[in-house]
């Protein structure tokens, strides 16, 4: 690519007074200094000390996501939901653990196409999410976005993006706006192990680190990019190390334990909020269902899936914590029943509310009238 002119006035120019990176360390510092510092402090105490109320809140949110997604899968099977539909079952602790450590109204969040779970974790009404899935007027995008394209700017949730990896620079743009406006917010930018191999992710790492943007990059490593396992797609499967070349500290976190996720996010958020620039978190997780509804999932064994469900299910883990705390098991049964009822109500609403008016076809193409 030939640029118009050859002269290069190189050298970093800090964008703002707070935007300067610390001076580069000697070469031998490598992976040892600040790039490991967050992981080290996390290793000292990995489990967030949640109160019973907090833990119960996490449990309920995760269970809501699980039951909602199961129902969405069922509605897909019945033809109420069309197109692509990517379920979050198995990954619930990631969205819930991270969201609970953010500040609603101050921080922003952006993710890819597997977004229903995130929407629920940010407290958005399951009815309008389900109605979007069924393509109804009452849906959060009036039925014009569908499963992969949902947004709630009111809650700081910026989508819902269907192009793998595109949300990463968009998230850095949101972080840029936080820095520009000096509003103290950060952007939590989620992407998968598959998106991690997109070039624009690294273009973004470079600029985010260069400009010290307030962003947490979150790799939800669910082990498979559609049908390709991380070992078959990635030269470096330890995704948290992939920021090293850009001097972004990494953290590896068990994404199946909501308390660990919450704890790690607090450490990452403190680092970002103190003006030290981006953090890269890798959350090791697992999706129980196929990539989308039409995935026969022949690239892994039934035993592998069952093994994760039996040994590491995030909801069972939270339940065990609650029982350990002395929480009444009977009450948990009641919670499950209540959530089932809530999801059934959302499904009824989504099945029975009207499709968009024909006039919606032409609304919101442009904001202005030209």
């Amino acid at each position: 690519m030939a640029k118009a002119s050859a002269s290069s006035t190189s050298g970093k120019s800090g964008r703002s007074s707070t935007g300067k990176k610390p001076e580069a360390q000697p070469d031998n510092a490598g992976d040892n200094f600040e790039l490991r510092s967050l992981q080290d402090s996390f290793e000292k105490d990995k489990t967030y000390k949640a109160s019973e109320d907090e833990l119960l809140g996490f449990y309920k949110q995760m269970l809501l996501i699980r039951r909602f997604e199961e129902r969405a899968g069922q509605l897909y099977g019945l033809g109420y939901i069309g197109g692509f539909c990517h379920l979050y079952i198995g990954q619930e602790a990631v969205a819930v653990g991270i969201q609970s450590a953010l500040e609603v109204g101050k921080d922003s969040v952006i993710t890819g196409y597997r977004d229903h779970g995130h929407m629920l974790a940010y407290g958005i009404d399951p009815k309008i999410i389900m109605a979007e899935l069924t393509g109804r007027q009452a849906g959060i995008s009036h039925g014009k976005g569908g499963s992969m394209h949902m947004f709630s700017t009111e809650k700081g949730f910026y989508g819902g993006h269907g192009i793998v990896g595109a949300q990463v620079p968009l998230g850095a743009g949101l972080a840029f706006a936080h820095q520009y406006n000096e509003d103290g917010g950060l952007c939590a930018t989620y992407f998968g192990d598959g998106a991690s191999n997109q070039g624009q992710v690294y273009e973004t790492f470079n600029m985010a680190s260069l400009w010290n943007l307030p962003i947490i990059f979150i790799v939800e490593n669910n082990q498979y990019a559609m049908g390709t396992s991380v070992k078959r797609s990635s030269a470096e499967t330890e995704f948290y190390r992939r920021g090293t070349a850009f001097r972004i500290p990494g953290m590896k976190v068990n994404g199946m334990d909501v308390l660990e996720v919450h704890q790690a996010t607090q450490i990452a958020a403190d680092h970002v909020r103190s003006g030290k620039g981006p953090v890269l978190m890798e959350l090791e997780t697992y999706r129980y269902r196929g990539h989308s509804m039409s995935d026969p999932a022949k690239y892994r064994t039934r035993e592998e899936v069952q093994g994760v469900r039996d040994k590491s299910d995030p909801i069972e883990k939270a339940k065990a914590y609650l029982i350990e705390m002395g929480y009444d098991e009977e009450k948990l049964k009641q919670i499950d029943k209540d959530i089932r009822a809530q999801v059934a109500e959302a499904a009824d609403f989504a099945e029975n509310s009207p499709e968009p008016e024909a006039s919606e076809l032409y609304t919101d193409v442009l904001v202005g009238n030209y």
């Binding site: 690519m1 030939a2 640029k3 002119s5 002269s7 006035t9 800090g14 964008r15 703002s16 039951r67 899968g73 897909y76 099977g77 033809g79 109420y80 692509f84 069924t134 393509g135 995008s141 014009k144 976005g145 947004f151 709630s152 700017t153 009111e154 910026y158 819902g160 269907g162 192009i163 595109a166 620079p169 968009l170 998230g171 850095a172 743009g173 840029f176 706006a177 520009y180 406006n181 273009e203 973004t204 600029m207 260069l210 129980y288 039409s294 026969p296 039934r302 469900r309 499709e355 024909a358 076809l361 032409y362 609304t363 919101d364 193409v365 442009l366 904001v367 202005g368 009238n369 030209y370």
Partner: protein
């Protein structure tokens, strides 16, 4: 109450399938997530999971059954406390009695929707009058563009400029000259050479409430970033039901420059003009460059603003006004005439005007229309001029196939047929990658002689 388990649709297009294998039997207890059966679609064999807890009561469709329609009840599940053995099959065949609501009410056809809202009244727009006595100065397009950005940056703190070499280097083509000195590095930002990345960051910043002006050193390099322009910037407002706006301006030189070869010489106006959700502007002179860039920065929609390197240094008369803002979506009559209309935009307008002067010597009175905005296109201006002159050609510095010229031809044919006294012709570049050699490059690009020849042809002279 017993739960009906129905034959699922396992792909967006599946209508029926084979129940290949049951993995549970009557009397088994299942929990959500347990695999019940294997189902063969035309594409693959899929596992079918339980969504509810319960005991398998009756299996209604035996394994091996083929062509089982989606929605058919294949088994019954007893809930906690129910006697699984006493469950009966449902009376009616459910896939017939229970049609989906989505099928019951077919959406109104697009044509009726069109009547309802497509043709919402457009505001009657015209360029603002220039008050008598206004001081007219000479300005280059380059200066006009820079002044537009500077004025908007003074008015609105949210406006910032980012791109390669826009700050310390003062702009690869000096369009951002002196902005760094006035606004500082927070608002005039040098990026690395990373188009895809910074186009995404600019788009995200707009979603976050800022007003980015993203400069591409040329639009040839924006092809690396076109995903964000089209998929991220143009579509989000629609997909979010109007929640998420994206007021970003992507600007930079477009079209052939001089002797830079095929990869650096391309007009992207037809590409971007094909995308609903974008505004596409391609000005010709300094006044339009300034007035329309200011309008673009204030616009709530994403704008692709196509400049031209070869006219950056050209001087034009510019009214000295406090706030020179022009309407988006409005063409401009550059020269009035009665015999024939030449429609053009960007650098083609200069060639069209040159051709019109020469044609006048031959007694042909040509009207020249500058589209200025390519999307939304000012169809009315084209059709009004056609109704007046009855002959029309389009001059476009770009490839002929699927060009803006082709679109104008279609508009004239569809909506101006009765006014036509001759076929609508287009004058475009040759349909080849732009060559480097000086003589070949000249042969490949449009010029005023070719415009004159086309005009004479539609006027049936020579």
């Amino acid at each position: 109450m017993a739960i009906e388990i129905k034959m699922p649709a396992l792909s967006p297009t599946m209508e029926e399938g084979t129940l290949a294998k049951w993995l549970v039997k009557e009397g088994d207890n299942v929990t959500a997530g347990d695999i019940l059966a294997e189902i063969e679609t035309d594409k693959a064999t899929m596992e079918f999971e339980a969504v509810d807890e319960g005991t398998v009561g009756k299996i209604l469709i035996e394994e091996g059954a083929e062509n089982v329609a989606v929605g058919t009840v294949i088994a019954m599940l007893a809930e906690e406390g129910e006697d699984a053995s006493s469950i009966e099959a449902p009376a009616a065949t459910p896939e017939e009695s229970e049609s989906k609501p989505a099928d019951e009410e077919k959406p109104a056809s697009a044509s009726s929707a069109e009547i309802m809202t497509k043709d919402q009244p457009k505001p009657k727009k015209a360029d603002p009058e220039i008050p008598p006595g206004t001081n007219m100065v000479s300005a280059t397009v380059r200066e006009a563009l820079r002044d537009a950005m500077a004025e908007e940056m003074r008015l609105d703190e949210r406006v910032f400029v980012m791109g390669e070499e826009v700050a310390e280097y003062q702009g690869a083509y000096k369009v951002t000259q002196d902005l760094l000195a006035e606004f500082g590095p927070k608002r005039v930002i040098d990026t690395p050479i990373t188009e895809y990345g910074f186009a995404g960051i600019g788009t995200g910043a707009a979603m976050g409430g800022l007003r980015p002006v993203v400069e591409f050193m040329t639009f040839n390099f924006a092809m690396q970033a076109i995903d964000h322009i089209i998929n991220s910037a143009a579509k989000t407002n629609y997909m979010s039901g109007g929640q998420m706006r994206c007021p970003v301006v992507f600007r930079g030189p477009n079209g052939a420059a001089s002797r830079v070869g095929a990869q650096h010489s391309q007009n992207y106006a037809p590409w971007y003009s094909a995308v609903p959700g974008l505004i596409v502007i391609a000005p010709y002179d300094a006044s339009d460059a300034k007035g329309l860039l200011k309008a673009a920065i204030r616009c709530e929609d994403p704008v692709v603003f196509l400049e031209n390197e070869l006219i950056y240094g050209k001087s034009f008369e510019l009214a000295q006004l406090d706030d020179h803002v022009l309407p988006i979506g409005k063409a401009r009559t550059m020269r009035e005439g009665n015999d024939v209309t030449i429609v053009s935009y960007s650098i083609g307008v200069g060639l069209a005007l040159e051709a019109a002067e020469k044609l006048a010597e031959d007694g042909i009175d040509a009207e020249v229309i500058d589209l200025r905005t390519i999307r939304p296109l000012d169809r009315e201006a084209v059709l009004e001029s056609l109704a007046k002159t009855n002959r029309l050609i389009i001059a476009e510095e770009g490839f002929p196939q699927c060009s803006v010229a082709a679109e104008i031809q279609a508009i004239c044919m569809e909506d101006g047929f009765d006014h036509l006294d001759a076929p609508v012709l287009r004058v475009c570049n040759e349909d080849v990658p732009l060559p480097y050699a000086a003589n070949l490059e000249k042969m490949a690009l449009i010029d005023s002689d070719r415009i004159i020849a086309a005009v004479k042809k539609v006027c049936y002279v020579d």
